[in-house]
C-alpha cells in the first residue's frame, strides 16, 4: 500500500486535471482559446495512476487528448496554459497549442495530433535510453482508436523484438472520435493484442486509480529491468465529446449520464475519506489550492505576450 503522501499526491493530480480541464472548457466557450481542444474529463485516473509511478527522467508521449497526461507528469501549469493560449511563454512559444504540449524538464517528450503517430516516436526515445545504458522508461499514451492504426502494429512488434523499455498505455475510453468501440473492433479487451507481439498485456479498470497505479508500476519496473514492453489497457469513459463543442448527437444521452457514475475522482475521494486518510475539510482546502494555481496560470497566460509575426520564420530549421 502506498503511504499517505503518495495517496494524497495522486488525489492532487486527479483534482488538478479535472479542474484545469473544466476551466479550459469555460475559457474555450468564452472564446479565449483559439482552435479546438480535446478534454479527458472522466479519464483522469489513467494519467494520474500511470504518471504517479514515473520520475522526471522518464519520458511520456501524449495525444491530442493529452492535457491530463502532461499535467500528471508534472508539467508547469503556467507555461502549459500559455501554450494553450498560443502565447510566447508557452512551452512551444504558442506554435503547438493544445495538441502539441511538450516539456523537456518534465519528460513530456512529445505530443501528437495524428492518431497513433506517437507510438513509433516513442520507440526512438526508449531506444536512446538503452543506447546510452540509461534506466529511464518511456510511456506512450494512446487511445482505443489508435490501436487500429498500422503504426500501432509496427511499434509493438519492434518494441517487443528489441525489448525496449516502453509501456504502451491504451487509454480506452470506448470512443474513437464519433464511433463506439463495438463498431470498429471485434475485441472487447485491446490488451489481448499484446499476445500477438509476444509481450505482456493487461486490462485494468481505468476508473480505479490505485489499480491503474498498481499495474502501471509492474509494467514500468519490468521495462526498467530490461524485460521489455507491456501493453497496459486502462478502460475508462469519455464524458464529453470528441472535442469541446461536440454535441455528441451520435451518442445516447442516457449513456452520457450513466458513465458519470464511474467518476474516478469521487470514487477515490470516498476511499480516502472512508479509510480515514482525509476528512472533508482536506478536500475543501485541496480545491482551494488547485483553484488558486489555475487562476495564477490563467493570469500568467493572459499576461504573456502575443507572438508577433517575426516568429513565423523561427525554428523551421535549426
Amino acid at each position: 500500500m502506498l503511504d499517505k503522501e503518495h495517496l494524497l499526491e495522486i488525489l492532487y493530480l486527479l483534482v488538478k486535471i479535472r479542474r484545469v480541464e473544466e476551466r479550459l472548457v469555460d475559457l474555450f466557450s468564452q472564446g479565449k482559446i483559439p482552435g479546438f481542444i480535446h478534454v479527458s474529463i472522466g479519464q483522469e485516473a489513467v494519467s494520474a495512476g500511470v504518471c504517479s509511478c514515473l520520475g522526471a527522467e522518464d519520458f511520456i508521449f501524449t495525444t491530442h487528448r493529452g492535457h491530463g497526461q502532461a499535467l500528471a507528469k508534472g508539467i508547469d501549469l503556467k507555461r502549459f496554459m500559455a501554450e494553450i493560449y498560443g502565447r510566447k511563454d508557452g512551452f512551444c512559444k504558442g506554435k503547438g497549442g493544445s495538441m502539441h504540449i511538450a516539456s523537456r524538464e518534465a519528460g513530456v517528450a512529445g505530443s501528437n495530433g495524428i492518431v497513433g503517430a506517437g507510438l513509433p516516436i516513442s520507440l526512438g526515445a526508449a531506444f536512446s535510453s538503452i543506447y546510452r545504458g540509461e534506466k529511464n522508461v518511456t510511456v506512450c499514451f494512446f487511445g482505443d482508436g489508435a490501436s487500429n492504426q498500422g503504426a500501432f502494429h509496427e511499434s509493438l512488434n519492434l518494441a517487443a523484438m528489441w525489448d525496449l523499455p516502453i509501456v504502451f498505455c491504451c487509454e480506452n475510453n470506448g470512443w474513437a472520435q464519433f464511433s463506439p468501440q463495438k463498431v470498429y473492433m471485434k475485441l472487447d479487451n485491446i490488451s489481448r493484442r499484446a499476445d500477438s507481439y509476444g509481450m505482456a498485456g493487461v486490462t485494468v479498470d481505468g476508473n480505479d486509480v490505485l489499480k491503474v497505479r498498481e499495474e502501471a508500476e509492474k509494467a514500468v519496473e519490468r521495462a526498467r529491468r530490461g524485460e521489455g514492453p507491456t501493453l497496459l489497457e486502462c478502460k475508462t469513459h469519455r464524458w464529453l465529446g470528441h472535442y469541446v463543442g461536440d454535441a455528441q448527437k451520435y451518442r445516447p444521452p442516457t449513456e452520457i449520464q450513466e458513465v458519470k457514475q464511474f467518476d474516478p475522482i469521487i470514487r477515490y475521494e470516498n476511499f480516502l475519506l472512508e479509510s480515514g486518510h482525509i476528512g472533508r475539510e482536506y478536500l475543501d482546502s485541496l480545491e482551494a489550492r488547485v483553484n488558486s494555481e489555475i487562476e495564477e496560470a490563467i493570469g500568467f497566460a493572459e499576461r504573456s505576450p502575443v507572438v508577433g509575426a517575426e516568429e513565423l520564420f523561427c525554428d523551421v530549421y535549426a
Partner: protein, 323 residues
C-alpha cells in the same frame, strides 16, 4: 586522389562519421547482417556492433518514428529506406513528425535525422521501385532534400547531412551505385544547399539532378560538336535550392533548360522555372524548357521509352538556342 564507386563512397562516409561520433547509428531493413539491399552499409555491423547497426522488421513507419524519437533525445540516426518509393509507406512520420517536430515544439528539439534512400529507374524494377519523388518532399518546410550524382558529392554531402541538425532526405540513385569517380584520400565535405557547375558554357544553362547530370553532360558534349556551348549545373541539393548559382549562370547564358528524371508535371523543374520567371524574366532570351519523364508510372518493360535521355536534353537545348 583515389577511385571509388558511388556506393562505396556512401559506406566510407558512414564509416567515418560513425567512427567520429558515437551518437551516429544506422537503422533500417537488412542494413546489418545483409549489409544493405545495395550493400551501402556493408561491413558496418562487424565494426560497430548491433547497437549501432540496427536491423529492423519491414516497418518503414517504425523506422522513421524511431529515428525521430532518437534524434529528439540527441542521437544522430541514419535511417535507410530500401527504395524511395517506400517513403510513401511512412509519409506521416516524415511529413507530419520529422519535418515539423522542431517548429511545432517551438525549437525545443533538433532533428538530426538522415533518411538515405535510392530513387530512379534503369534497373527494370517496375512501377513501385523506380520513381523519383523528390518534389513531394521539397514541398515540405522543415526538410532538406539532397540528391547527389557523383561519388565525390555523395560522400561529401552524406557527411554534411549527418552533421546537420535538421532532417535530411538523402536521395541516392540506384542506377549510379556502380559508377566510379575520384575522391580525395583525406577528409572533405560538400555543403548542403550549394549547386555545382559541372561544365562551364556560355550559350545555355542546363540545370540537372542526379542521373540526369550525366545525360546533360553527354548532351553538352554532343552540342559542343555543333558549336553550342552549354553550362551544366548539378543541383546536388533540391531544398534549400541554390538560386544564386542558377541566376549567376543565367546572367551569362540567358537561356534555361531543366532536366530531371521525375515526371515533368509539377516537378522541381516547374519550381525553378517559376522562380526564374518571377525574378529574372528580363534576362531570358527564350522560353524555359523542361526535360522530364512522361506523366505515367514507370513501366517494367518500357523503361527505355520512359526515361529521359541525353537526346532529350539536346532537343530541348536546340529549342531554346534556336528560339
Amino acid at each position: 586522389m583515389k577511385e571509388i564507386r558511388y556506393v562505396r563512397a556512401i559506406t566510407e562516409a558512414l564509416d567515418e562519421e560513425m567512427a567520429r561520433d558515437r551518437d551516429v547509428f544506422v537503422v533500417g531493413e537488412d542494413v546489418g547482417r545483409a549489409g544493405g539491399a545495395f550493400s551501402a552499409t556493408k561491413g558496418l555491423l562487424e565494426t560497430y556492433g548491433e547497437m549501432r547497426v540496427r536491423d529492423t522488421p519491414i516497418s518503414e513507419t517504425a523506422i522513421i518514428g524511431l529515428a525521430v524519437g532518437a534524434a529528439a533525445q540527441g542521437l544522430r540516426p541514419v535511417a535507410e529506406i530500401m527504395f524511395s518509393d517506400f517513403l510513401a509507406v511512412c509519409m506521416d512520420q516524415i511529413v507530419n513528425q520529422m519535418a515539423k517536430t522542431r517548429y511545432m515544439f517551438g525549437g525545443m528539439y533538433k532533428m538530426p535525422v538522415v533518411v538515405r534512400t535510392p530513387c530512379g529507374g534503369g534497373l527494370n524494377a517496375g512501377p513501385q521501385h523506380s520513381q523519383c519523388i523528390e518534389s513531394w518532399f521539397a514541398h515540405v518546410p522543415g526538410l532538406k532534400v539532397v540528391m547527389p550524382a557523383t561519388p565525390y558529392d555523395v560522400k561529401g554531402l552524406l557527411k554534411s547531412s549527418i552533421r546537420d541538425d535538421n532532417p535530411v532526405l538523402f536521395i541516392e540513385n540506384k542506377a549510379l551505385y556502380a559508377i566510379k569517380g575520384q575522391i580525395p584520400e583525406e577528409e572533405y565535405f560538400v555543403p548542403i544547399g550549394k549547386a555545382d557547375v559541372k561544365r562551364t558554357g556560355n550559350d545555355v544553362t542546363v540545370v540537372a539532378t542526379s542521373r540526369m547530370v550525366y545525360q546533360a553532360l553527354e548532351a553538352a558534349s554532343a552540342l559542343a560538336a555543333e558549336g553550342i556551348d552549354a553550362e551544366v549545373i548539378d543541383l546536388r541539393t533540391i531544398s534549400p535550392l541554390d538560386k544564386e548559382t542558377i541566376f549567376e549562370s543565367l546572367e551569362k547564358t540567358s537561356r534555361l533548360v531543366i532536366a530531371h528524371e521525375a515526371v515533368k508535371l509539377f516537378g522541381i523543374g516547374a519550381e525553378i522555372a517559376a522562380m526564374v520567371c518571377e525574378e529574372m524574366i528580363d534576362h531570358l532570351d527564350a522560353p524555359i524548357v523542361r526535360v522530364g519523364a512522361p506523366f505515367v508510372p514507370v513501366p517494367f518493360n518500357l523503361e527505355d521509352a520512359y526515361l529521359p535521355k541525353a537526346d532529350d536534353v539536346v532537343r530541348a537545348v536546340k529549342r531554346v538556342v534556336e528560339f
